[in-house]
Symmetry: C2
Subunit: 333 residues, 2 copies
């Protein structure tokens, strides 16, 4: 980060910098990165304290990294094996050995940024543990074409729900309803959004899986059924444009009280003990074609800033990522 | 209700009207009311759809009533016995037999408006079932001198928590800390409120029991601990003054996501199966003096509007009510 963004993100906020590798501590790994994630949270941390303090100028943009182990401490993953970790937009990452997740299930590496990674787990735990989706319920997903959203809608259907997408474009909605099994989709930029939404949920909303926060929640609230659940997964509307002080949804307290609603946030780390079991489920769904991850991957470290800007402008369906080099041989331990 | 209030409540919004008793349906009771509740929700229903559609002009203000059965269907409570029900500000109520709760535990009748009534159950279920208060946790209660709040603080202490009150006056805070066992109290009208609050919760807030909603929640959010719970019990700040469209708390989504917070509403009716067990606990606590209900009871139906206005102006500690006649003899079945 060359400059802290105050509003919309721009290429001038980034610079590529070369630095010599520092010495490794005894418990650290050196990893050659193959793939990096590009996600809305990267924008948030550029000027907002989130699950970590905001970046200072000169720090590297944090991201998931998928890479190959070059050096390893004793007891660490084998040299040459593949790991995923929370690293940054960099060619090589130095990682604490406790931080890395070994990749043992053979799958396209891109899937470890999406369905088999943080986003798949976010969608899965958000729907099953926070949303507690039951068969026959109506689930609405906002940011439905995003890295988490496009998986959440499909998973909600696999759980037996009827699923409605909210995105910012008719083109994305067409992809979601024709290719990814959403039952209906609404464009939040349409002048008739509130009415459109209401018409697509004739039986009300049981679970709202929220990736965007902001004004969309106000349109959702009057449609929530008693004992409805709002799963707070992301707040992309607040990430770009200095909107972190944006007011919360009007009428929230009264709606929550009178209809016994639950509005709940979570981090994937809250369910660490269940990651392995959940990943097995997600792998079964994706390898059998019932859960289709979409990825939009650009090439080269220099492509990452523009990929993030495109993402925030709402131009992608699915998970955005950057590929730094081809898949290494002997990938899975 | 003579006139729908658009802002602050005034005596002109009310009138007393005499109407002949209508015929009873076969499953209805006729009850001579002894006590009526005066509660912030009465203001809310005058211009807002809540758990019921808002009142139309000419309707009677809804309230809890405690009364003596004058006529009863076969299988109903005995003539002369005492019941509680959701009725209205009226001398006599006609009630469906399924609606009434028989009062069988001998106690001062005022307690059935507070600790043994709706408010005691609201505080109890809010803390135990929604807030899931654990010993050693820090609980903050807003509207802490109100009908629900003054019980919630005491119950939270009985559950082993450290309890901090928020009210709108230093006088009320003195009552709460010297008579009702609150560990500390903060005045939300003080210029140093945010700092005062922060200093009273050095270990952060685990449970916020919210009776007021609005700006206080914004001061609370940065102090909430990971996995904190916000119990949405009331929204008095939105009841008077046409503020039902007031924006929700700024920064809510980001706080909820990054600290895995839960923001949850409930109705006492959600826990109907547990009313009896909970009432036994509340009776034990109150009869042994560990839980001290405070009541502020005026006399005569005509005193009800002014009592509600006083309540909304924040002049009471404890439960407000109106007594229509002395306790009847042979009160408990």
């Amino acid at each position: 980060m060359r400059e802290r963004p105050a509003g919309r993100l721009d290429l001038r906020h980034f610079e590529r910098r070369d630095e010599p590798l520092r010495e490794l501590h005894p418990d650290e790994l050196l990893v050659e990165n193959v793939l990096l994630s590009v996600a809305p949270a990267a924008r948030a941390v550029m000027d907002t304290d989130t699950y970590r303090p905001r970046l200072v100028v000169g720090e590297t943009i944090p991201s998931t990294v998928i890479g190959r182990v070059l050096r390893t401490p004793s007891g660490g993953p084998a040299v040459g094996s593949l790991v995923a970790a929370f690293g940054a937009w960099e060619e090589y990452s130095i990682l604490g050995s406790a931080q890395v997740r070994r990749l043992t299930i053979p799958a396209p590496l891109e899937h470890y940024l999406s369905v088999l990674g943080q986003n798949g787990l976010t969608a899965y735990f958000g729907l099953t543990r926070i949303g507690q989706v039951a068969p026959g319920e109506t689930v609405v997903v906002s940011g439905a074409a995003g890295g988490v959203g496009h998986l959440a809608g499909q998973i909600a259907r696999l759980l037996g729900a009827r699923v409605v997408a909210i995105t910012g474009s008719a083109e994305k909605n067409t992809v979601l309803t024709t290719q990814l099994g959403y039952d209906a989709a609404v464009n939040r930029r349409s002048a008739t959004f509130v009415q459109d939404l209401s018409e697509t949920v004739p039986e009300g909303i049981d679970v709202y899986f929220d990736n965007v926060a902001g004004p969309v929640t106000e349109a959702i609230l009057p449609l929530m059924n008693r004992h409805g659940r709002i799963v707070c997964s992301g707040a992309t509307s607040a990430y770009d444009g200095g909107a972190r002080e944006a007011p919360g949804p009007a009428g929230l307290a009264l709606a929550v009280i009178t209809r016994s609603l639950r509005f709940e946030g979570f981090l994937v780390a809250d369910f660490r003990d269940e990651w392995s079991a959940a990943t097995t489920v997600l792998r079964d769904w994706s390898s059998s074609g019932r859960l289709v991850p979409k990825e939009s991957v650009t090439t080269g470290l220099d492509s990452a800033p523009a990929a993030l800007i495109d993402l925030l402008d709402g131009r992608n369906v699915g998970q955005a990522g950057v590929r730094l080099r081809p898949d290494p041989p002997h990938a899975f331990e």
